[in-house]
Every structure is written in C-alpha cells, then in structure tokens.
C-alpha cells in the first residue's frame, strides 16, 4: 500500500525549529515587556523578593534545626527558636504576597501581550497583499492564531516567570551555601554539572522528538482535513477500507512520535530527582567524613569564625548542625533545577511559533497607492469626483465617470510566467464588456488588475484617464463593485450582509436591492427574514442563494464600475432569467465587466472579448462575432473547445 497520497505539510505546519532562537527570544521579550516597563520592573522586584524570602525562611528552618541539634534538650527556645520562627513567619508572608503579586501582574502582562499580539497580527493581515493569501493555505495562517499563539501563552505566562524565579532562587541558595562551606559547595557544583548535562541531553532529545511529533500531528491533521472533506467521495467509491489503512499509517506514525517525545519529557523528572538524592548522600558523606575524621581539617568545611571560637567539643556540635542545614539547602537546590528542566521543550516550541508569527508580521504590507482620492460633493459640479492634488497645494477635480482603459498590459503572477500578453481594451462609462474563454485563459486575472490586487508588469491601466497607480488604493477599490464566483458572506444578519456594500444604506435600500436581485422571496422564507443570522460563510444557504445575496450586496454599493466574475454560475438559468431585469437595472449607467462561461449571460454586452492563453483573440458584439464565424461562433455553437 502506498501512502504517497499523504503529503507532508510539515514545512508549513510547524515541525520546524526556530532558525535564530536567540534573536527571536529577544524580540518576544521586547514585545512583551517594552510596553509594560513599570509592571515588568515590579515583576522583577516581586520575583526577587519572593525567591529571597523563601530561601531566607528556609535558612531559618536550618538555623532552628541546627540549634536543636547543637544544643540538644538545652536548646534555647525563647532566645533562638521563637525569634527565628517569628522571623520566618514574616518572610513567609512577604514571600507569599510577593509571589501573588508577581503572578497577578505577570498574568495581566501575558494576557495583555497576547491580546496585543493577536490584534497586531490581524491588523497586519488586513493589509497584506492578496498574493500572500494566494500563496499560503488558510490552515497555515489559522495555525498562527491558534497553535503558535498558544505556545506564546505558555512561554509568557509560565516559562519566563518560572525561569526568572528559578534562577534567582538558585543564586540565593548558592550564596547561602557559600557562606556555610566552600568544600561542600564544590560537591554540589560537581553534581550540578552532571545534572546540567543530563538536562541538556534529555531535554535536547525531548525537544527534537517534540518537533517530530509536531510534524506527525500536522500530517495527521492534514490527512483528516483532506479526507473528511472528501468523505462522500470515499463513500461512493467504497474506499472506506483504503481510507482506514491510510489513516492507520499516519496515526501509527503519530503514536510513535508522541510516545518518544512524551517519554523523554516524563523521564526528565525522575532522573533529575535521583541526581538530587545522590547529591544528598554525597554531601552528607563528605561532610561527616570531614567532621569525624579530621577535626583539624574543619577549615575545609566552614569559614565561619564562630566555629573556631567555640570550644573543641562544642565545635563538633555546631559543625553537625551546620551540616544538617547545608543538607536542607542541597535539597532545595534541586527544586529550581527541576523546574527549569521541565520548560525545555516549551521554549523550543514557543520560539519556533514566535518565529512563524514574526515572519507573517514582517511581510511588507501592500502599498497605499497614489494620492488621488475620491470625494463626494466637494467638486464644483457636485457628485463624486477624483481629487488630484497639484504641486502647489491646489486641487484639481476630475468627475467620476467609470471609464476604464487597458493600454498594452502585460502581467504574470511570477516574473517568468506571463498570463496576460499586451492586452489593450477600453470600457466607456456605461458600457458592458464581457470576457469569455476557457478556465485559465486569464479572465479573472484581468479583474484582479483593475482593483490592484496584483500590479501589472508593463503597460498602463487608467480610470477616468488617471493611471490607477496614482489613485489611493482604498478609494480605487471603493469605486469598484465586485461580485465574485466564490461568494463570501459574513456571520451576521442577512441585512448586515447586504449593507456590507454600503454601510450607510437604509433598510429600505437594502430590501430594494434584495428585491432586484430576486433574493427577497427566499429571504422572507427564512426563519427570521432579514434578521436571520447567516452562519460562517453562508453555509446554511445554498450556493445560488449566496450568489443572490452577493449581487444584492453589490447593488447597494453605488460604484460606477462593476465587476461580475462568474456571479451567476450557481444560479440556474431560469432564476437567472428572473433576475435579469434586476441585473439590467444594476448595470444601468455603470461600466460593467462580466466574466461568464455561460454565453447566455454575456450576449447583450457592448463588446465581448474572447480570451485564449492571455491574449484577446476576438472582440466585438455578439452579432458581429457570430457573423465573423470565428472562435466565438464555434464556442457558441458548441463546436469548439477553448483550451
């Protein structure tokens, strides 16, 4: 059985390590904390306070134990034990309050950063060129918002505070241990080197396996996505068994990868923990040996002068107490090491995610276009007009008419592959121009150029005599009404969706538009009429109904130029006939570009362009083209295939 049907989508869907981890980490930190400098400072202070307080409190425990051991039943409760307990209680309280404070502040910083990050990503996305969306799958872009932002959440709300606190705690304990004994500290350092090595090894393996796991997960998601999309095809081809087998392959792979990745993550704890026990035994052993074997070598054990001031007999007791304290520290020392080790794979994954997010936000936005804007009621003649700023600060007004011209336009989505070759055409205000031709002939491409979704390589497109490059992009697009083949509606009421065309349209205007588009009757049959909520991309309506709504939406907008790209492809010819009147009204007085492979739709156009491989091979009106008995005629009579 071949599993060639399963494409690795890994390269896009995670499964990659960050290329420049340190740089990315720096950027994440800057992004999260530079806007919250005061809060960040507080977090630092509180983390510091909490760690030091906890270590200090623990030192009091050691101190008390030491006192008890050194003095036995004669231990000084009132003089030593109680004051220490009270001191300990205070530091505990400070520690808890500090830890509460930094957790709270950090929670706000993390959530605030995620909010800002999401908003920034989305805002940025709105201004990315169409090309970006054409070259990335929706699934991949969505995973920036879900998986990648999630790993950032983990990094910000857990990993970073955890690491800061662990490091500070380590340093604090280190200092305390240093005060007790340099020799024993060396033992600890030796063990620490050992555990660092283990963390690096296991953590490294774990991170590596997690990356593989992530990739396997991506593969499985991709497979399920594709196959579930085609589940009905699987049914009609009785392909269930094969689908099961193929699924088993990806699923088994995920199981293997998950097992490995999780195993490494789970064994980290026991290993580090056990190294901790080893450390305890070693320290105890070395300590006791030094005390027991050579009283004179006790200098090795402590730099405390108090040890030397005490009498010989007492000295041993003090030393023993000290050793107990030290042992308690050594146990504490292990905790932060453990905590840092658990964060290893989180960091690797978060940085890879962050890098993908930054890659998106770093993509250059589409340019804003020229400085000619669209105005209403400003120009002396009233109505809509282009406003062209002169060099001296004066303005020139050009009335908006809807005259579109292509002069020798050449275009390709990539430099090396030309889609449109030397296209020249004009559409005078109020004319209807149609494009016909096979799929891939370049019909849709032409419309992508008028609204500057893509920019042409050579030649010129003018709008009312102005090069469209000189017009501000939003204004250019506002002057063009578009109905696309894949209609996209938005979650909201039917009314909202129609009003999308012009936000200040009244309810009456929207209903009128719906009537013209022949959508009124089916809308009234919806459970709540115009107030019916349309869910995600109009999935509760038929494709034809979606198109009718999209047409109504275009009718509401008052653009002088309309582009209808297969706008009626899912509407059957009878219904199309019914809305013809409305369509005629819609097109009245407007420049219209129509793309359709149904020839009945384009017949009454002023001019019809027959496109083939990016070249206009015939042009004229229906009668002329029929009379010409060329490609159009053959296409029309079904005798010729354009391809």
């Amino acid at each position: 059985m071949s599993n060639a049907g399963i494409q690795p989508r890994s390269a896009l869907k995670g499964g990659k390590r960050a290329k420049t981890p340190m740089k990315t980490l720096g950027r994440v930190i800057k992004y999260a904390f530079s806007n919250n400098k005061a809060a960040t400072a507080f977090v630092f202070v509180f983390v510091l306070l909490a760690s030091v307080a906890n270590v200090t409190a623990a030192s009091r425990v050691s101190y008390i134990i030491k006192e008890l051991i050194a003095n036995g039943a004669n231990a000084d409760l009132n003089g030593v034990v109680y004051p220490n307990i009270i001191f300990m209680g205070c530091t505990y309280l400070i520690g808890s309050l500090s830890s509460f404070s930094y957790n709270l502040i950090m929670m706000y910083i993390a959530n605030g950063t995620l909010l800002k990050l999401r908003e920034d990503m989305f805002t940025k996305m709105q201004y990315l060129p169409v090309k970006y969306f054409d070259s990335h799958t929706h699934g991949d872009i969505m995973s920036f918002y879900t998986n990648d932002v999630d790993t950032m959440r983990q990094l910000l709300s857990q990993t970073i505070p955890q690491i800061i606190s662990s490091v500070i705690t380590l340093v604090a304990i280190f200092v305390f241990m240093l005060l007790y004994s340099v020799t024993l500290l060396l033992v600890i350092l030796l063990i620490l080197t050992c555990s660092t090595f283990m963390i690096k090894f296991i953590g490294g393996m774990s991170a590596k396996e997690y990356v593989k796991h992530q990739r396997a997960l991506g593969n499985l998601n991709g497979y399920v996505e594709e196959m579930t999309e085609g589940q009905k095809v699987i049914k009609v081809f009785c392909h269930e068994q094969k689908a099961r087998e193929d699924f088993k392959v990806v699923n088994d792979e995920l199981n293997r990868a998950g097992y490995k990745a999780n195993t490494y993550a789970f064994i980290m704890g026991p290993v580090i923990n056990n190294i901790g026990y080893l450390q305890y035994v070693l320290v105890a052993f070395v300590g006791i040996m030094i005390i027991a074997v050579g009283h004179s070598e006790m200098g090795l054990l402590s730099v405390y002068t108090s040890v030397w001031n005490a009498g010989d007999a007492n000295r041993v007791a003090v030393m023993a107490g000290m050793l107990v304290s030290f042992l308690m520290y050594s146990r504490q020392f292990n905790m932060p090491v453990m905590q840092v080790s658990q964060q290893f794979s989180a960091i690797v994954m978060a940085l890879a995610g962050a890098e993908r997010i930054f890659e998106m936000t770093d993509t250059p936005s589409e340019d804003k276009g020229g400085n000619i804007t669209l105005t209403h009621g400003e120009c002396p003649e009233g109505g809509w007009a282009w406003k062209k700023p002169g060099a001296d600060g004066s303005f020139e007004y050009i009335p908006l008419k809807g005259d579109i011209r292509f002069n020798d336009v050449t275009f390709g989505y990539t430099e090396d592959k030309v889609i449109l070759k030397n296209i020249s055409l004009y559409a005078k205000p109020g004319q209807k121009i149609a494009f016909v031709g096979a799929t891939g002939a370049g019909k849709t491409t032409i419309t992508n150029l008028i609204n500057r979704f893509y920019d042409i390589q050579s030649g010129e497109i003018t709008y009312d005599g102005i090069n469209i490059r000189d017009i501000a992009k939003p204004d250019l697009r506002r002057s063009l009404g578009i109905v696309l083949q894949d209609t996209h509606l938005f979650t909201g009421t039917v009314m909202d969706n129609i009003r999308y065309g012009r936000l200040d349209a009244t309810d009456e205007e929207c209903i009128n538009a719906a009537k013209l588009a022949n959508a009124d009757s089916f809308i009234r049959h919806l459970p709540e009429g115009y107030r019916t909520i349309i869910k995600g991309d109009g999935s509760n309506l038929s494709q034809g109904q979606n198109q009718l709504l999209a047409i109504a939406r275009a009718m509401v907008s008052e653009c002088p130029v309309l582009i209808l790209d297969e706008a009626t492809s899912s509407i059957d010819t009878r219904t199309e006939k019914l809305i013809e009147e409305g369509m005629d009204k819609l097109m009245e007085g407007r420049t219209v570009f129509v793309i359709a492979h149904r020839l009945s739709t384009v017949r009454n156009s002023k001019a019809i362009m027959v496109l083939d491989h990016g070249v206009i091979i015939e042009r004229g009106n229906h009668e002329q083209l029929i009379a010409q008995r060329g490609n159009y005629y053959q296409l029309y009579t079904g005798a010729f295939e354009l391809e």
Binding site: M107, H239, Y259
Partner: protein
C-alpha cells in the same frame, strides 16, 4: 461516557495498569528516602551529642547505600512509569482516533450531514489531544498523589501521631480553598473557550473572505470586529486566570503555616515542654513531607480540573463513536447486480426523519438498462436527491428504489456502489498523482485501463501536456488543475469502476460544451450497455438522451424526449428559451 471511551484502551490496558503501579513505587520511595535521611541526620545528632560524640560510620554507609538504592529504584520506577504512561496515553489517543475514523467510515451520507467537516476534524485532532492529556494525568498522577499523601501520613503517625493532625488540618483547609477556586473558575474557563472559538471564527471568516473585505475596503470594520472578539477573550481569560493566581500562593502559604506549626510544636516536644517524641532530624523529615503532601493535593486538584475541562471534548468524541449508521444492513444481502435497470416506485424522500417537508414526492420512474436519461430542473427541485437514492446514499421514506430488479436495501452496500458509479456535484480529488487518483475507481487498473478511461473522459490530452503526465501531482484537494479538468478526472475515475450505472450530478458544468458532447459521444461508443443518468443545467447536455425527466419542486413534472418536451412542457421550454434564445436567430 467513560465506558465508551475506555473501550479504546485495548492493547494498552497493561501499560495503563502498570504505569500507576510504577508511579506508586516511585511515590513510596519518595516517602522512604526522607525517612532514611532522618537516620543519617540522626547520626549527626549523635555526633553533636556530647554524651556520644561520634558517628557509627557503618550506619552511615548503610543508610547512604540504602538511600542510593531507593533513589535508583525510584528513578527506575519513575522512568518506567513515564515510559508506560507515554505509551498508554499515546496509544489510547491513537486507538481513539482510529476508532473514530473507522466508525466515520461506516457513516451514511445522512450521518455525515450531521457534522460539519470542521467539527469532525476538531473532534479527531484537538479533542483527542485533550482527552489524551487528561488520561495521561489520571494514570500518572491521580493514583500516585493519594498514595503519596497516605504514606506520608502513615510515616508521620509513626514518627509522631500528633503531627499527623496538623497535616490533616492543612489538607482539609487546602482542599476547601482549591474546591472553591475550581468551582468559581470552571464556568469562566468554559466561557473563555467559547470566546476563543468565536475569535477563531472571526479570523477564519476574514481569511476566506479577504478579497471581499479588500474590494469593499472594509479592513477597519474587520479589525474592529476582531478586536471586539479578542477583547472578550481577554476579559474572560483574565477573569479565570485571576482566580488561579490566588491558588498557588495560597497553597504555599498553607505549607508555610504547616512548617511553622511543625517547628514550634516539634521544638517544644524535643525540649520536653510538651509531651511527644520528635528529634530534630524527624522535624526536618516532617517538613519535607509537608511539601510532598501539599503538592499531592495540588496535583489531584489539577487532574480533576483538567478532566472537568476536557469533558466537552469527551462528549464530542463519544458522539462520533456512538453514532450508528442510518442504513441498516440487509439480513440476506444480494451480492450480484443483474443489470443496469432502475425502478422508482411511489418514492417519497426527505433528509431528516422528523421533517414534514418531502424533498421528493410520488416519484415513479422506470429506466431500462443501457438507457441514457437526462434530469433537468431548477435549483432545489430535487435532482441530486433523486439520483442519490440509486446507490443508496440515502434511504427512501416511502416506496422503493430497485436496481437490476432488486430493492437497493437488499444489496450488499459495496456491491451496489461498485456497480453504480456516481460523479458528485461537489467532487473532490486527493493529493497524489493522477494515476493514484484514478486508481480510486479500480485499484488493479492497468495503465491501458487508466489511459482508456482518461480518453473517454476527454482528459487524456491535457494530462499528457502536464509535466510528468499521469504522474503529475495534483496537490491537496486537486488544486493544481482547473475546474473543468478536475471534473473530467472525476469522470475518468468513475468510469474506471466499469459500473453498470453511471450518474453525472452536474459534473460537466465547468467543461465547455464541445468537450461535454465529446464525453457523451465517447460513453455511447465505449459503453453502450451502461445506464447513464445525466443531471445538467445545460439543455445541450441532455437533449440527445433517450428520455428527459423534468423535476419541479420534488415532483416529476414530465418525462419525454427533447422534442416532445419542447412541445408539451412549459418548464422545459422555458429553460430551453433562457439558454438558446437569440442563438438560432443569428444562424
């Protein structure tokens, strides 16, 4: 619900049982080791005691060795527990996915219609991951933590019973605090997850509609919509997490109070102020236990919290697992399709059982084997529904559909569908090469078979012009070919099945008229015995058919040939006029 899910544990049962056992082993060691430490420290006490002043080095070696042995044992237990935990949880998730996917394969069209594609994907991926996490926590932590707690209490009782009371009190306090927090936080989390879905929906919608957004220059509107959704998510995650922020410091605070109690009471006992028997070394051990006990409680709380939160995921998975196919199996299935004749008698049909509204009503239709039948009608007239009854994609509500003289409900489903090929309206190709895709029709098809089918579907020319020809990679969902090419590949794929009946559900809409007629001609020539049913928008696609069925609002309006219908049927001639009007005048 748990029962349904746990069925998927299967071969990982042993690991699932052994994992907690190993984890318990580790937990017990974690309790014994501090106990051993007590002995080591006790030697130091002896050293400090002027009355003794020396250590028993034999004892120290003994305890050290014991401690290392226990440590290694704990490590081995921990490693194996971890390994088994990973194996069991990943395996469980694997089986869950497999069971869901396998059950999904038994779904009928009606079952599939119950779920959106997106929701099925979420169920198989994200929801399973959530359940896997919960399961992993259960087997690794949920057993271990109470054992840790209980053995620590036992050891404490052995050291000094009174101290066990302190622990008990602390545990109860902490339990109450955690309980309150969880009670408050869970509803917030639920809302938060909803808001999260809401935000994703906004982003998804914007992504798919980006061209519309840009065309109408509505970027700002989208941004404000998204900011609103993101803001709501922020509000609820802050609300939820704020409560959790209290939890950790509260726990440590309780631990600190316990420590203070132990030290105060312990030192008084040691000195002899109050009755009781603890040594400093034991005090030290008790302090270690306090940390372990409280972290045990925290772990249990975390697990419970996770299980609560993943309950939604569990429900969704169970739904998929429990869904039974709506097409009952026949008792004595027929395994041979005699010929390609089709009979509809008094068929009523609707998509949901409760629905009053019949999609098809009183359908009576006989199609002889080898006939070519066209079906025409406006959107929503029931064309697709009608043909979907032939390969039994759905069951009729009333009446019967017979293929080859046998009721479709009496056939072995695979046999029926192998003989009734259907080219769906919303058709899909899969990633892989063209050959691989065509082989869906017949796994054992030879190269000649494939080429022939491609030729019949008029796909051979463009395939040969593609780089790599038949080995050309179609990309996910067949994105690398145009709409018309895709349709022709789908037709070729169906032809490879060499069916007795082939149904084209508007499957040449993107193919130009010329190619369309070429395909029909090829079918006529190569497969004269095959029953062909063609649903089309274009009159041209059906006008040569032996008979044409005109559907209107779920009823058969008329049956006849092109000429007959043109004369007698209003709907048909109306459709005809809308398509051909003007064309002939110019000829």
């Amino acid at each position: 619900m748990f029962k349904t899910l746990l069925k998927s544990v299967r071969e990982y049962k042993l690991s699932s049982i052994l994992c907690p056992i190993f984890m318990v082993g580790e937990a017990v060691m974690e309790i014994i080791i501090p106990f051993l430490m007590t002995f080591i420290v006790h030697e130091l006490e002896n050293l400090a005691d002027p009355a003794i002043g020396s250590v028993n080095s034999g004892n120290i070696v003994l305890y050290s060795v014991l401690m290392i042995v226990c440590g290694v044992f704990a490590m081995v237990c921990g490693i194996y527990g971890g390994k088994l935990g990973a194996k069991a949880s990943c395996g469980f998730a694997h089986n869950l996915r497999e069971d869901m996917y396998n059950n999904l394969q038994t779904y009928s069209f009606a079952n599939i219609d119950n779920y959106s594609t997106a929701s099925l994907i979420t169920r198989i991926t994200t929801d399973v991951t959530n359940v896997q996490m919960a399961y992993q926590m259960c087997i690794r932590m949920l057993v271990r933590a109470p054992v840790l707690f209980i053995s620590a209490i036992i050891m404490t009782v052995m050291i000094e019973p009174f101290m066990a009371l302190v622990f008990g009190g602390a545990a109860i306090t902490l339990g109450i605090v955690i309980g309150i927090c969880m009670f408050k936080v869970v509803p917030y989390f639920r809302t938060m997850f909803k808001k999260y879905d809401g935000l994703n929906a906004v982003v998804q919608e914007d992504l798919t509609g980006i061209r519309v957004v840009k065309s109408y220059v509505r970027e700002d509107r989208e941004i404000s919509k998204m900011k609103h959704a993101a803001g709501e998510l922020y509000t609820y995650s802050v609300k939820a997490e704020r409560i959790l922020t209290v939890l950790l410091p509260m726990t440590t605070l309780v631990m600190f109070v316990v420590n203070i109690c132990i030290l105060t009471i312990g030192s008084n006992m040691y000195v002899g102020n109050i009755s009781g028997n603890v040594s400093p070394s034991q005090i030290q051990t008790l302090i270690q236990y306090s940390a372990q006990i409280l972290s045990g409680i925290m772990t249990v709380a975390m697990c419970l919290n996770y299980i609560t939160l993943s309950k939604g995921s569990m429900d969704r998975i169970c739904e998929v697992l429990n869904e039974k196919t709506t097409l009952p199996k026949p008792t004595a299935p027929v395994s041979v399709v005699a010929d390609g004749s089709i009979d509809f008698s008094d068929v009523d049909f609707c998509y949901t059982q409760k629905s009053e509204l019949m999609v098809l009503k009183d359908i009576n239709l006989h199609i002889a084997s080898g006939e070519t039948v066209g079906i025409i009608g406006s959107t929503g007239s029931g064309k697709s529904s009608l043909v979907s009854l032939i390969p039994r994609l759905y069951d009729v509500a009333q009446g019967s559909v017979k293929v080859g003289g046998v009721d479709v409900r009496d056939y072995e489903l695979d046999v029926l569908r192998d003989k009734v090929a259907m080219v769906l309206q919303k058709n899909v190709l899969f990633s892989g090469t063209i050959t691989e895709n065509l082989r869906w029709g017949d796994e054992n098809a030879t190269e000649e078979d494939i080429r022939l089918a491609a030729k019949q579907a008029c796909a051979d020319e463009f395939i040969e012009n593609l780089p790599g020809g038949y080995e050309y990679d179609l990309g996910q969902g067949g994105v690398n070919v145009s709409g018309g090419q895709k349709q022709r590949l789908c037709i070729a794929r169906a032809l490879l099945k060499k069916p007795k009946i082939i149904i084209f559900d508007d499957s040449t809409s993107a193919v130009d008229t010329k190619t369309d007629s070429k395909i029909r001609a090829a079918l006529k020539a190569y497969a004269p015995d095959m029953t062909k049913i063609i649903i089309a928008q274009r009159i041209a696609s059906v006008q040569d058919a032996d008979k044409i069925v005109v559907l209107d609002e779920g009823r058969i309006d008329a049956i006849g040939t092109h000429e007959e219908l043109l004369k007698s049927n209003a709907i048909y001639s109306e459709i005809y006029m809308s398509q051909v009007k003007g064309g002939e005048e110019n000829e």
